[in-house]
């Protein structure tokens, strides 16, 4: 269950307390997040909405350990990440976070297979084990037959599927999706959202997603709006039906 009032229990997968983020701009301070609280349980699918500059991506970056808050704490699966050193945080990201970006951010000189394999290069898996994991991840996103294609040989939707396969291949604790459909047409966006829903419903993944698109946001279990640096729960949250879950 998702809470924004700071009343979540200690068993929450993600627990955010009093999160502040201030930027220095042109000699002045811009306080983007102001004492934000958030509790997310395992298997939740949360969409963050809000106008441009409201701090959605900032929040996602903080949750993913890409940026550090000005104040407050973020605890994920018992690990408090806000005070981790740079190296520890890097290791933590490799183990716990799968990133999906709006522009896919695939490496153009690597094939789909090699792109998906990247996070596994940081593990001690053998080449054969890595191959098996990559094939499984590409199977989940339905692109086994495109594994030897380069990003330029794939459509936008297919590229985003490869990016999702890369995000899930190391079986991270949660996925962070920053406008995953922002660069796609409606049909491709629907396919990507169906895939993300499948990851939540079938495989029990926890997904936190930033989007501008209300249609996309409605597919999440919970939609939260960022307003004046705080999270506000949407009036009509759509619950993702609980279904049978599989481990990837």
């Amino acid at each position: 269950m998702v809470r924004v009032d700071g009343t979540g229990g200690p068993n929450s997968l993600i627990r955010v307390r009093g999160l502040d983020k201030t930027y220095q701009r042109g000699g002045g301070e811009i306080r983007v997040l102001q004492g934000l609280n958030l509790d997310v349980d395992k298997g939740d699918f949360v969409a963050f909405m809000g106008p441009s500059g409201s701090g959605k991506t900032t929040l996602l970056n903080l949750l993913g350990g890409l940026d550090v808050p000005t104040r407050g704490t973020i605890t994920v699966a018992g690990d408090e990440i806000t005070h981790m050193s740079g190296n520890k945080l890097t290791e933590w990201r490799a183990r716990h976070v799968g990133f999906v970006f709006q522009m896919y951010n695939l490496i153009p000189v690597l094939t789909a297979f090699q792109n998906v394999e990247l996070p596994l290069l940081l593990t001690k898996l053998s080449k054969a084990q890595r191959r098996k994991h990559v094939e499984t991840a590409l199977g989940v996103v339905g692109l086994t037959d495109r594994m030897n294609h380069y990003p330029r040989q794939l459509s936008g939707g297919q590229e985003q599927r490869v990016a999702i396969a890369r995000a899930i291949v190391a079986d991270p604790t949660f996925l962070l999706c920053d406008e995953p459909t922002g660069d796609l047409d409606r049909q491709s966006a629907d396919e990507i959202m169906a895939l993300i829903e499948e990851l939540v419903k079938e495989y029990g993944k926890t997904v936190l997603m930033v989007t501008h698109d209300p249609v996309v946001a409605r597919r999440a279990g919970t939609t939260l709006h960022l307003d004046k640096g705080l999270l506000v729960e949407s009036a009509e949250p759509q619950q993702v039906a609980a279904g049978g879950r599989h481990e990837i």
Binding site: L66, F101, P108
Partner: protein, 382 residues
């Protein structure tokens, strides 16, 4: 190595740029090898000089002679083991461009004073018996296609006029690869018969072998003291000092070559550094993704450095390989003006080490920049 495919893929992303950068390294390493070989050839005399050999020449200049009568006096000085003498002949074989060093030698002691230059006993005996006989270095014989029994004319430019005829009685070889195999040795007696009377009985310089190298300084001083205040005062120095002063006549070759080499490598550093910086800048968002998914700062630095090192090694290898292939052509173009051009293993090693150092240095700044990249800022640039 599991990252090798990744490094290779990044290297090959701009193939023309990669080839041009490798080409820059190759040209620089080729030039480095060439300069090193020329420097080595110039300083070869000093490097291979025997520690127990002294050169005695006229104090005024090496072109001024010293009397033959000094030989016995030098031989009597304590510590002197053997004495021989040489004259510079300076003849022309067919064309002035066919330069090779020609010496009038003293057959009696030549082999004992220069034991590293080997001639078979049979050939030496034929030479000693033949007043017009000559012993030729293997490289010069090969250069002109000479063989034993050939008759060779040399036009004199110093000792009168006309052609002098010689019979090739033997070919000498150096014990070591770096030994000079370009010389042409002729008989003192034949020389004496033909030079003008005013020049008879005068030698160009003496070469002295001492009992022990430790005694070289004392013996040098004693030789020069023996002839002090005479019409032909002498200057005695070790063979290496003699060779070094000979090279100095051409100017400060070492400084010149080192300066050119440094400019070449500094330029290479700027070129490759710029290339690596552009390459890294183009991949800012990709590097941010690598960091986001868990690649550490050190790994990012490693990737950039590995790329620049691979370029440096490939370019270095190509450059040095080209140098090996070009060496005979260069030697031919120099027309024997320098001793044999030898691309020594030390030049290879130094070339590779220098290439690696330039590769590391050129990748270091872009690598550190990539390492310090702020993921959030870099992703925002997409």
């Amino acid at each position: 190595m599991k990252f090798s495919r990744l490094i290779l893929a990044n290297l090959l992303r701009k193939k023309i740029r990669l080839l041009l950068t490798i080409g820059s390294f190759a040209v620089a390493l080729f030039l480095f090898a060439f300069l090193a070989v020329v420097r080595d050839a110039f300083s070869r005399g000093a490097d291979i000089a025997s520690a127990d050999r002294l050169f005695v020449m006229n104090r005024t200049s090496i072109i001024n002679p010293v009397p033959l009568s000094y030989a016995d006096k030098i031989h009597r000085i304590p510590g002197v083991k053997m004495v021989t003498h040489d004259n510079w002949f300076g003849g022309i074989y067919q064309d002035e461009r066919n330069f090779f060093p020609q010496f009038v030698i003293d057959p009696e002691n030549q082999r004992q004073v220069f034991p590293e230059l080997i001639v078979s006993d049979a050939e030496w005996q034929n030479f000693v018996k033949d007043r017009q006989g000559v012993i030729v270095g293997a490289r010069t014989a090969e250069r002109f296609g000479w063989k034993i029994g050939d008759r060779v004319p040399l036009k004199t430019t110093i000792w009168g006029s006309g052609n002098w005829e010689f019979n090739i009685d033997g070919i000498y070889h150096g014990k070591r690869p770096q030994d000079d195999e370009t010389q042409f040795w002729m008989q003192w007696d034949y020389f004496q018969e033909h030079v003008p009377d005013a020049l008879k009985g005068q030698v160009g310089w003496y070469v002295v072998r001492v009992d022990t190298p430790d005694d070289a300084v004392r013996v040098s001083k004693n030789i020069d003291a023996e002839f002090a205040n005479s019409p032909y005062e002498t200057k005695t120095e070790t063979e290496s000092a003699f060779a070094a002063s000979w090279v100095k006549q051409f100017g400060n070759i070492r400084f010149l070559i080192v300066s050119i080499g440094m400019v070449v490598f500094f330029t290479l550093l700027l070129v490759t550094g710029n290339t690596m910086a552009i390459s890294v800048r183009e991949r800012t968002s990709e590097l941010a993704v690598f960091k986001a998914i868990g690649f550490s700062d050190r790994k990012i630095l490693f990737f950039v450095l590995a790329e620049s090192l691979v370029i440096a090694l490939a370019g270095g290898f190509v450059g040095l390989l080209l140098a090996v292939l070009a060496m005979p052509i260069l030697a031919n173009a120099l027309n024997g003006m320098l001793p044999q051009l030898v691309l020594a293993p030390s030049v290879f090693a130094l070339g590779f080490v220098t290439a690696l150092a330039v590769g590391l240095a050129s990748g270091l700044l872009p690598g550190l920049g990539a390492m310090r990249l702020q993921i959030v800022n870099a992703l925002r640039r997409v």
